[in-house]
């Protein structure tokens, strides 16, 4: 019976000796917390592309680690903490729901840099938030959709009724309406970011309702498959989804995080990192419109490209008045441009969209 304690003690010794060496290793370690799996070919895939870009850019000076399928909430707090105990010097948490956990852990590790995607909480000086102006890309897709639809009904798969998604619906609708006064938009809420079965059902429901152009704000490629079978067109979401080109996927909205990740990791390594609240769009390349295929008429491709260029040059803002709210009241007067504060908390549809935002 005396063997056991001794065995435990020696094993503990081995474990104890093995670890500190790793902790003091030189490479700057960057950790990524993913809400899904890089295999989603959507949201998390693009963040993982950003991670790989960081590895490639910095070579041996940087080491990256990631945890996939991390539930939002208490589990995230543990996952982040274990990552830091494992040696991470900088953490990217890549989903809105990680905000609370990111800030809670940041309070305990003031020397670690935290970057939280799509959130708004920066309770400690070592926490930054970053997001992309997806609505800029949605404007371009809406423009194309308005031209392409024959049934004049555009379908939109919404994840959750949160400002970011509502911005996209409004932006897509406004720019579809602009080129096609008869266009309507139908929204189905899935209450999930990633669930291929639910997303496929939503797509089918929209198609059954007469939709012939499908947009999605969920992460899987399931709606693309359904669109393909139904012979309608669709747009890639978060990643290019180029495997569905030239039809159904006629264009896409790509989240391109790599430049931002490389920039921030570089700043952290040099010690010039500062807290920030980044919201970048087409101009810096954080939002990219994927290749427009031949399925789109040439003149539409040209006008869409003109819109991309105007947004990139800062000449055009997708939310420029006159725009009324759904109830008919004035939101933006003629020529007025929406301010970021209102957009960040956007909780109403614009005039012309039927249906209600669920509460």
């Amino acid at each position: 019976m005396k063997m056991l304690p001794r065995l435990l003690a020696s094993a503990a010794l081995v474990a104890g000796l093995a670890l500190p060496a790793a902790a003091q290793d030189d490479p700057f370690q960057v950790g990524f917390i993913y809400v899904g799996s890089p295999g989603d070919y959507g949201w998390t895939y693009e963040h993982d592309q950003g991670r790989l870009a960081v590895e490639e850019h910095f070579g041996d000076a940087v080491e990256t680690v990631f945890l996939e399928n991390v539930p939002e909430g208490a589990d995230a707090e543990r996952a982040i903490t274990q990552m830091i105990l494992g040696g991470a010097d900088m953490i990217f948490t890549t989903s809105f729901g990680f905000g609370e956990a990111t800030n809670a852990v940041a309070a305990q590790f003031p020397d670690v840099y935290f970057e939280h995607a799509t959130g708004y909480m920066r309770e400690h000086p070592n926490v930054s938030t970053y997001n992309a102006r997806f609505y800029e890309g949605r404007a371009v897709l809406g423009h194309i959709a308005g031209h392409m639809t024959e049934s004049n009904i555009i379908g939109y798969i919404g994840s959750y009724p949160i400002p970011e998604v509502i911005q996209g619906i409004n932006s897509a609708f406004l720019h579809a309406r602009e080129v096609n006064p008869d266009v309507e938009i139908r929204v189905v809420w899935t209450y999930t970011w990633f669930d291929p079965a639910v997303e496929a059902d939503a797509a089918q429901a929209l198609i059954d309702a007469g939709v012939d152009v499908l947009m999605q704000h969920t992460d899987s490629t399931a709606p693309q498959t359904v669109a393909q079978e139904a012979g309608i067109i669709s747009f890639g979401q978060a990643s290019d989804m180029i495997q569905f080109a030239p039809r159904p996927r006629v264009a896409s909205i790509i989240d391109n995080w790599a430049p931002y990740y490389i920039r921030r990791v570089g700043e952290a390594m040099e010690g010039t990192w500062e807290q920030s609240d980044i919201w970048e769009g087409i101009d810096t390349g954080m939002v990219v419109i994927g290749e427009m295929t031949d399925a789109i008429p040439e003149d539409v491709r040209a006008s869409a490209q003109a819109m991309i260029d105007a947004i990139a040059a800062g000449e055009y803002h997708p939310f420029t008045g006159p725009i009324n709210r759904q109830d008919g009241s004035v939101w933006l007067a003629d020529g007025e441009v929406a301010d970021d504060g209102t957009l960040a908390g956007l909780n109403f549809y614009v005039e012309g969209i039927t249906g209600e935002i669920p509460n």
């Binding site: 274990q82 809105f96 908390g345 956007l346 509460n359």
Partner: protein, 361 residues
Amino acid sequence: MIRLEKRPQPSRFWVVGAPVLAVLLTMIAGGIMFAALGKNPVEAIRIIFWDPLFSERFAGFSRPQLLVKAGPLILIAIGLSLGFRAGIWNIGAEGQYIVGALFGAAFGLAFWPSEHPLIFPGMIAAGLLGGFLWAMIPALLRVYARTNEILVSLLLVYVAEALLASAATGWLRNPEGSGFPGSRNLARNPGTDNPELIAGTGMHWGVLAAFVAVIAAYVIFSRHILGYQIRLAGEAPRAARFAGVNAGRLVILCLGASGALAGAAGLFEVAGPAGRISIDFNVGYGFTAIIVAFLGRLNPIGILLAGLLMALTFIGGELAQLMLGIPAAAIQAFQGMLLFFLLALDVLANYRFRWKREVAA
């Protein structure tokens, strides 16, 4: 030819020996899988089972986390075991967990930002009530309309998830959260928080409640008439009826108790580790608890150990992902192996192998 022969009494040796053997077999089979993935199997096994408990670098943090993770699993599984023993199948603990959290959080938020000492007890009561009421739907439907409680309780999980989403984006949304979904943070307000009771242990009221539930269930099963009725109803329903066990009352009692405990687990989670109502508040404790209940052989002490073991594989598995880059799917497969071996080897406790020569009939 090998024959299985039922033991008259479960083997005392194998009741203890089977789980140990199962863990060893999992280490071997899992080790082979990790080696096939090109990872060092010994290191992987050490990280999963050893490091969360004893490594200098992680244990200080991981050990308390074990209780945080195991607490709700044990609390829910204890409740489920009451019904499971009686042949009453509550598969919807996840929904009761959500509704309990919603009731409890709503109670706390209704008095925001009061720090009155009765707020938290009130939240616990509301959590218990929420889970209880949600479980009453399948219970009453089974008793009075003869519906199947497995289906009803399971489907109500999806209704509860829809309620949760509407609460997070609507009626419980933080008015100061600039339109973002999610309620106020209950854990950061002294009146509504479920704090760590002893610093550095991970012990919060929910973990304490889980331990109390283990003891209470143990007493009920071994000493109380109710425990006898539950077992009788499960093993011999007809005999139970002749013995005067009121089947309808038992259904309401078992579903109600398991619902209330799941609801309480939800409240402790939302006021403590999770902190707030959010769209993705539920992470599957209600379903995992079903596995924990069976892993623990529906025995209170077994459930306690099974809950801790599950928590260990979650936390250790996460470390293995992190330190060795083992994919999350492989960790899940590893957990699956553990469950498989544990349940498969159960046969050793109840049966024995006999060599038998074939005899012509």
